[in-house]
């Protein structure tokens, strides 16, 4: 399997502060990969670097196309959807408008309409509220909306930043079930950053553990999950 996303020697900076110190990893097409690590390890920064939302150097290639230096919106147009931390909901707009915004770069009107219907199948709660202002949704509903909005792009690669953040455990289970389904059925490659390592490792094929901006361990999800040292020192359970 050839890699869909190649990351080599990635360094990222916030002003003078360096947050990533030479990250390297690959995502193979159709895989579901998780990035694990403690607070401040650089997980969010890694995702932001892929979408060029933080100043970074090194190489990131998506299906051969270099991403570094490319504007965020044009990276998105390559088929990379990013569900940011805090969900990025357009709170003053309706649920349906949020979904339409997800597909704003697409020109196939009919496809967009049928995809909105598909999202309502995936997330029935959104269908009940499609005329409602998105800001009035609960946290879990907003997270569903964020994922649905990202899917409206018909992405090849989806980046998720802490989708479980602030959600009740039951809702998190649901959400991950849907993510697994999207990964398997729609063949969307997924890179997910998670605090809830246990859950993420259950679903993912592959995992990387990062610490202070470097990858310190990688392997299949089950290897990482079963590695006693990793569990104790990095995952904390």
């Amino acid at each position: 399997m050839t890699a869909m996303l190649n990351v080599r020697d990635l360094r990222a900076y916030y002003g003078q502060v360096q947050a990533l110190h030479g990250m390297a990893f690959d995502l193979s097409e159709g895989s579901m990969t998780t990035l694990l690590g403690a607070n401040g390890a650089g997980k969010t920064t890694t995702l932001r670097a892929i979408c060029n939302m933080v100043r970074s150097t090194g190489t990131i290639e998506f299906e051969g196309a270099p991403l570094i230096g490319r504007p965020t919106e044009s990276i998105v147009r390559l088929g990379i959807a990013h569900v940011p931390q805090g969900r990025g909901t357009f709170t003053t707009m309706t649920v349906e408008e949020n979904l339409q915004l997800g597909a704003i770069t697409r020109t196939d009107r009919a496809g967009v309409v049928s995809d909105i219907e598909r999202m309502y199948d995936h997330f029935p709660v959104l269908k009940d509220r499609y005329t409602q202002q998105a800001g009035t949704l609960s946290g879990g509903e907003q997270q569903m909306l964020a994922v649905a909005r990202a899917l409206m792009l018909r992405p090849r690669l989806m980046l998720l930043d802490e989708p479980s953040f602030g959600l009740a455990p039951l809702i998190v289970r649901d959400l991950f079930k849907i993510l697994g389904k999207i990964n398997r059925e729609d063949k969307v490659t997924i890179l997910v950053v998670e605090q809830n390592a246990q859950l993420a490792l259950e679903l993912a094929d592959k995992a990387y553990v990062i610490e202070t901006g470097r990858i310190v361990m990688s392997g299949s999800a089950s290897e990482i999950a079963n590695n006693e040292d990793v569990r104790k020192s990095y995952l904390g359970y």
Binding site: V17, G40, K43, T44, T45, Q85
Partner: protein, 338 residues
């Protein structure tokens, strides 16, 4: 969650300036002071008058700087406070026969009160809304001064003529030169007061509010009190500048204090560097001399020349004179290092 990340907040109205960077070192201050004392001895009376105006506007810009650079609040309405100060001095001198020097503290106190009161509604506004409210105040002021009801005191549209004071104790200097040194002394006092104010507890409270209002209130700072206080202090100092201005120009009239003056003071602050108090004098020089220069370059296009110069400042030295000062400081540091 990474430790370093951006949070969703309203963009800061003003870039934060570290407290230390708000003033000059002792050596530089002394050099500037010597220069300010020496120059009038060498130039003609008209230039001395211009230098007096330079100091007066510098004080007014400084006042705005305390408000904006210190507490992060906008004002496009400083001309209103300036006008109140000017009229207070003029009315006290011409109707009350009070000594010019004594009118200044009164002007300061009245404007402090006015500013403090205006600060109450302004409390609930921020950024662009506050700019708009103060803009409204500045536009309304000349109209209010023209009101028939106050005409006996204000002289209506005609305004009031103010007597120029002589040098006291039979000092052998011209009226202009005396007024210059008088203004210099007051400006200096205000500058020292302002520097100390910003270094004090209140100054720290101002800056905390500027940098993050919600966090400041969470730290137990009485945000409402300090914001109105900043307005009051700023207005009070502007009022003193207005009083001095009335004495120097020997005339007050409603149309001297239009929104154009407020905009000038605002530009003076931007050019001088927001939050950098010594920059006030550079900003003041900009608003006094650049329109003349613009007029010199092209009579019909002076407004355009002025605008272009302003754009150049914004683009090339967005931090105003402060940026220039930092560059000079680095150069001196390098020279010393060699």
């Amino acid at each position: 969650m990474s430790a370093i990340e951006e949070t969703v907040t309203e963009a800061a109205a003003v870039e934060a300036v570290p407290k230390k960077a708000m003033t000059l070192g002792y050596g530089t201050s002394l050099a500037v002071l010597v220069l300010l004392i020496a120059v009038p001895l060498l130039v003609k009376n008209f230039i001395i008058f211009q230098l007096t105006m330079l100091l007066i506007y510098a004080v007014a810009v400084l006042a705005l700087n305390i408000l904006t650079g210190g507490s992060g609040q906008f004002s496009l309405g400083q001309s209103a406070f300036y006008a109140v100060g000017a009229y207070t001095s003029a009315i006290l001198m011409e109707h009350g026969g009070i000594n010019y020097a004594l009118t200044l503290p009164v002007a300061g106190v009245i404007c402090f009160g006015f500013g403090f009161l205006f600060g109450q509604p302004a409390l609930r506004l921020s950024g662009v809304y506050l700019a708009l409210a103060t803009f409204a105040l500045a536009t309304a002021m000349p109209q209010l001064l023209k009101l028939g009801a106050f005409e006996y005191w204000t002289g209506g549209v005609q305004g009031l003529v103010v007597t120029k004071p002589d040098a006291p104790f039979g000092l052998p200097m011209s009226q202009d030169m005396w007024l210059y040194y008088f203004t210099l002394a007051i400006s200096l006092a205000i500058y020292i007061f302002s520097v100390n104010l910003l270094r004090s507890r209140s100054g720290r409270a101002f800056m905390a509010i500027r940098d993050n209002e919600i966090a400041a209130s969470a730290m137990g700072i009485d945000v409402a009190l300090y914001k109105t206080l900043a307005f009051g202090v700023s207005a009070g100092i502007t009022g003193v500048a207005g009083g001095l201005g009335a004495i120097a120009v020997q005339f007050v009239a409603p149309d001297s204090y239009t929104i154009a003056l407020a905009i000038s003071l605002f530009l003076g602050m931007v050019v001088g560097g927001v939050g950098w108090l010594p920059g006030s004098i550079v900003g003041s020089a900009f608003i006094i001399f650049v329109p003349n220069i613009a007029e010199g370059i092209s009579k019909g296009l002076s407004g355009a020349v002025f605008g272009v110069l302003l754009f150049l400042v914004i683009f090339l030295v967005p931090h105003g004179a402060r940026q220039g000062a930092i560059v000079v400081q680095h150069l001196i540091g390098k020279l010393r290092g060699n």
